[in-house]
């Protein structure tokens, strides 16, 4: 058993109605969901694995079976066929008390409509899971108080759920699930009942908590933007079947079928795609050590008005303009550094597209992209940015830098006038 797999679902079926087992047989033989007679298939042959620390999003419209699926993961709905394993142990075929034990210690849940106990205070609600675990009162209240603080509800402990706004109520729901310290967290449309601004806030908070606590989360949603924003991997469901599992970018750029493709059309690409996924190889870069002569030659050959300057290990230094380099060449300076401008305005490779627009406007060159060690890994021409938003990331063949490069004749004359022989490094595409 692989240690890093927290949850494994294999061949899960859920059929409601009479003759459920027969219906599963029919489905296995390839029958469609509509010709099962009286039975209704909610989930058909769902298999997936969720790794430790991952946010796994199950995305589908209403009626796609996602809520049924998540309830099979903690046994609230017993499956018709297939197996669910949490931490390597099957939750199927265990006694009711063993199943309760699994729910107490291994998997907790957050509900769409919060499902708080209205007659208990916030603190008692948060402590509910601990109470069921049998933890003694002072300790569970202390732990609940801490979690309440973490989710940002300090000072609200003695209020009742009805006195809280929707977002705060769901924080209580989240805190209740976190307090149990189970590794696996199931979230059933947890943010769908909240209004958009609060939803966004909660998403950010969830990501923040996730990075601190490293929970493994299965998140159900019908909102593709939410799925793309939160999910490390996404399973898209349709009519009870999982039609594609992949990273958000996978799903966006390689939709498995027409259904997924139609679905992702409405996605706000600027939130999902990162700089890395749209960047191009730079047409040319200039090494810091090379002199003005070499630099100008590169720019002339590539018809560039400006270029980025890097060190030998591709660490970004700055950028130069052809006019400045030309001046250096004319004045016979051997060192490029007076012409280098340091304000390259590069962005990190995991910056989301939506945050690239302003830097792209401010940058004279195609926007530089650096990795975590500050090395130049690519550039994003403005045209690419626009083309990506339009859903045609490859339509940037004519990307031209601005302003127009110097006339070649002028450059040639200047180069001829000076007489240098330093190495030039040219970066092919």
């Amino acid at each position: 058993m692989n240690e890093t797999i927290v949850l494994r679902a294999e061949g899960l079926y859920k059929v409601f109605g009479r003759h459920a087992d027969d219906a599963v047989e029919k489905l296995r033989k390839g029958a469609s969901r509509d010709d099962l007679g009286g039975a209704t298939a909610a989930v058909i042959d769902a298999s997936f694995e969720v790794k430790r620390g991952e946010i796994f999003v199950v995305m589908g419209l209403s009626g796609s079976g996602k809520s049924t699926l998540i309830r099979m993961l903690n046994g609230l709905h017993p499956q018709t066929a297939g197996t669910v394993e949490i931490g390597g142990e099957s939750i199927n075929g265990v006694s009711p008390s063993e199943l309760r034990d699994i729910r107490r210690h291994k998997v907790s849940m957050v509900f769409q409509h919060f499902a708080l106990l209205p007659h208990r205070s916030v603190l008692d609600n948060v402590a509910y899971g601990l109470e069921i675990q049998g933890i003694e009162k002072t300790e569970r209240l202390a732990r609940a108080r801490k979690i309440t603080q973490i989710v940002g509800l300090a000072g609200w402990e003695d209020k009742f759920p009805s006195q809280l706004s929707g977002g705060m109520q769901q924080r209580v729901g989240l805190a209740r699930a976190l307090a149990t310290e189970t590794e696996l967290l199931l979230m059933d449309e947890a943010f769908s009942a909240l209004d958009p601004l609060i939803r966004r806030e909660m998403q950010d908070q969830l990501l923040e908590l996730q990075s601190e606590l490293g929970k493994t989360i299965v998140f159900i949603t019908h909102d593709l933007n939410e799925a793309m924003y939160l999910g490390d991997r996404i399973a898209v469901m349709r009519d009870g079947r999982i039609v594609q599992i992949g990273t958000p970018e996978d799903i966006l750029t390689n939709p498995a079928n027409e259904y997924v493709e139609q679905f992702v059309q409405d996605v706000d690409r600027s939130r999902v795609l990162t700089a890395e996924s749209v960047m191009r190889a730079p047409r040319a870069v200039i090494h810091e050590g090379s002199g003005p002569h070499a630099a100008l030659t590169v720019m002339r050959d590539e018809q560039l008005s400006a270029a980025y300057v890097v060190k030998r290990d591709r660490t970004l230094v700055g950028w130069v303009r052809d006019r400045d380099v030309l001046d250096l060449v004319r004045s016979g300076t051997k060192d490029l550094s007076p012409a280098i401008q340091r304000d390259h305005g590069a962005v990190a490779n995991d910056t989301s597209l939506s945050e690239l627009f302003i830097p792209a406007i401010e940058s004279a060159l195609p926007l530089a992209v650096h990795d975590e060690r500050n090395k130049l890994v690519g550039v994003i021409p403005r045209v690419t940015l626009l083309a990506t938003l339009g859903g045609e990331p490859d339509a940037d063949g004519l990307a031209t830098p601005r302003p127009d490069p110097l006339p070649t004749a002028v450059v040639d004359r200047a180069l001829d006038a000076s007489d240098e022989g330093l190495t030039t490094v040219k970066e092919a595409r």
């Binding site: 609230l76 107490r104 998997v107 849940m109 209205p118």
Partner: protein
């Protein structure tokens, strides 16, 4: 046409059998009913009327507020002034005993029916039967089994009033938000615990309405039970009917009304957070919350220093 189903004969012979072969059970029940009733009558009748009225008024103040307390005093003083106090006490005792037993039967029954569809389907027609059979009809076998007195009154009242308690309990439990019950399950609570901590508390308004209905129906039945010698206000009404005494009939009848209104408002206020009691409790909670806030503030002051804490 001389086709006839001898239902009457069957039922009569059934009760004959009951009377003959399991009379001990009814003797035991009779003893229980009579003992409970006598104990309550003793409690109510021993102190002077005014003391009891004061106690009930204070309880009313706690449960519902001063307007209700004044209403209680006026209503009960009226009962005293028409010389029906002793009868009212008898009636009250009988209602409380019958209603208490009905609640003890109705709530578990309602819970069972809520949890099990088969039970629900079986119980429903039985309840319909109990509620629609004319009330007087219960009195005949009750009289046959228990003889004249308090016991037939209790059993007839009990059977007549149990139905709404069962129905409203079932309705309440079934009406509890399924997601909240699911939350209990998802955190690994046992069915018993879910019942105790989630379903019953959340169904409480409905269960309370059921108890209220039980008491109201019990009161209306107790008057009828006066016909079989259960005494109390019902006995007075029966006497008035016998003598065609309009004055006595109305004095007893209005006393029933006073009692009914007081009981209804009392049971209606349970769980509504009205009255002085909940006010005092709320004030106490507020003080506690303020203390806690002050403690947190001072803690913050200590932790962060005065400037950063915003002082």
């Amino acid at each position: 046409m001389d086709f006839r189903i001898p239902v009457g004969t069957w039922i009569a012979s059934f009760f004959d059998w009951v009377e003959r072969d399991i009379a001990w059970l009814f003797d035991a029940l009779k003893t229980l009913f009579v003992t409970l009733n006598d104990a309550l009558v003793w409690v109510f009748a021993t102190p002077p009327a005014l003391v009891l009225i004061a106690v009930i008024a204070i309880a009313g103040l706690m449960a519902r507020g001063w307007k209700f307390a004044i209403g209680v005093v006026i209503g009960l003083l009226f009962v005293v002034s028409v010389n029906q106090w002793d009868n009212a006490v008898d009636t009250l005792a009988l209602v409380i005993v019958a209603a208490f037993l009905a609640v003890i039967i109705a709530i578990p029954m309602g819970i069972w029916a809520a949890k099990n569809d088969k039970v629900s389907k079986t119980v429903k027609p039985v309840l319909d039967f109990l509620q629609t059979l004319p009330a007087f009809v219960y009195l005949i076998p009750a009289l046959a089994l228990f003889g004249v007195g308090v016991a037939p009154g209790v059993i007839a009242t009990l059977i007549f009033s149990v139905a709404p308690g069962v129905r409203l309990t079932e309705l309440g439990i079934r009406g509890v938000d399924a997601e909240v019950v699911e939350a209990g399950q998802a955190f690994g609570a046992s069915p018993r615990r879910i019942l105790r901590q989630i379903q019953v508390p959340l169904a409480m308004p409905s269960i309370m309405a059921g108890i209220n209905q039980i008491i109201m129906l019990a009161l209306s039945m107790v008057v009828i039970a006066g016909l079989v010698g259960a005494g109390g206000l019902g006995g007075e009404v029966a006497k008035a009917i016998g003598k065609l005494d309009v004055g006595l009939g109305f004095e007893a009848g209005l006393s029933v009304v006073a009692l009914a209104i007081i009981l209804d408002r009392f049971t209606g206020s349970f769980g509504q957070r009205m009255g002085l009691y909940s006010k005092l409790r709320k004030r106490q909670m507020d003080v506690k919350a303020a203390d806690e806030q002050a403690r947190l503030d001072s803690q913050e002051l200590v932790d962060k220093g005065p400037r950063r804490a915003g002082f």
